[in-house]
Symmetry: C2
Subunit: 246 residues, 2 copies
Amino acid sequence: MGEPSREEYKIQSFDAETQQLLKTALKDPGAVDLEKVANVIVDHSLQDCVFSKEAGRMCYAIIQAESKQAGQSVFRRGLLNRLQQEYQAREQLRARSLQGWVCYVTFICNIFDYLRVNNMPMMALVNPVYDCLFRLAQPDSLSKEEEVRGPGKGRWVGSLTQPSASPPSMEVDCLVLQLHRVGEQLEKMNGQRMDELFVLIRDGFLLPTGLSSLAQLLLLEIIEFRAAGWKTTPAAHKYYYSEVSD
Amino acid sequence: MGEPSREEYKIQSFDAETQQLLKTALKDPGAVDLEKVANVIVDHSLQDCVFSKEAGRMCYAIIQAESKQAGQSVFRRGLLNRLQQEYQAREQLRARSLQGWVCYVTFICNIFDYLRVNNMPMMALVNPVYDCLFRLAQPDSLSKEEEVRGPGKGRWVGSLTQPSASPPSMEVDCLVLQLHRVGEQLEKMNGQRMDELFVLIRDGFLLPTGLSSLAQLLLLEIIEFRAAGWKTTPAAHKYYYSEVSD
């Protein structure tokens, strides 16, 4: 959060021309079409979850540069407009591409994390971000994976560090990742909705269809994480993130 | 904990003669056979879980009375000896009578809670109490009940206040009840064993045989309770202990 100390942004996954566009937007925002830049960034974020995880930092830098150079916020307005469009069509996006939907949530949470107005998160994003997380916590998102119970202890315990060994669980993964990153801030902005979100998460354990073992571990961990004041206790860290010893 | 303010003990479930014995033990301990009194109390505790839940307070009062009157600890020695005998034969007790076993754990935890030496819990009881709780957290204790999944939300949520609506889950019930009462003190005496106990509890969610919905809720609640510093947050209280509203 705050202004990045180095102007290093992971834009290698863009084509050469777009990389140039982004570099110019950062250095001389007045020289490029900033609405186009916003669209390019959102489009790319929906396809590239690695990029969407840290796009917020670059967006913040462009906003700062534009504000400093011209006292304007064309880029920010363009960005928020696109975010809102995608937000309104989120069910269609999810139906079309689960990956795109997960990238979108990653992106909007990252924007929420980085964009600041008077050093506060943007109020306008609080409810959209919550709505996305609520969507990830619906029964069909929590339990849609195949039930894969490991052969008892030792298989999954400690496996949160070994995603390759686990069945895909994209939406649950995304939900807990975002809560780790922005949960505490979100709760400060609206504690009641966080309570409601955790009702859904706890209810997940009671779903008639069951949760995968990995999903159970992920949800258990985030429940402990929040209960401990958005911190991982040493014992929880050892349980969830250490290699299995026995 | 500490000296009870009123000498009111729930001894109505004893026969008249034993009630008299207990009353005398409290008022004039030198006039009765205190080893017999200890045995009477333990025997009754193993049969009456309601009594075993608060026997510690009376035991503490008899110990205080004997110490004051004669500077001796015949009763305490007798009590701890019997507790140790039962402890050593706990697997047989459990096999013979699940109810008796659960009453025993309730009793030893209550004794741990009330008996103080220099205002500290008795070190000698820490490991036996932990061993009992570890036994309650073994897979066969956690998952032995029939899997009863309710028809989705609304059936079990909030049902921790409605035990009559739930399948029996004696050992899980006992485990979480004792952790609510003495978990924090136990952790202070030996934090590592508490960490190990919670590894078993978390592992419970991954058991191939599954947990009943009620057991899941009970364990989830105790995990949150400990993570929050042995406290129930208002949101957790609402989730686990309020009537279902929708």
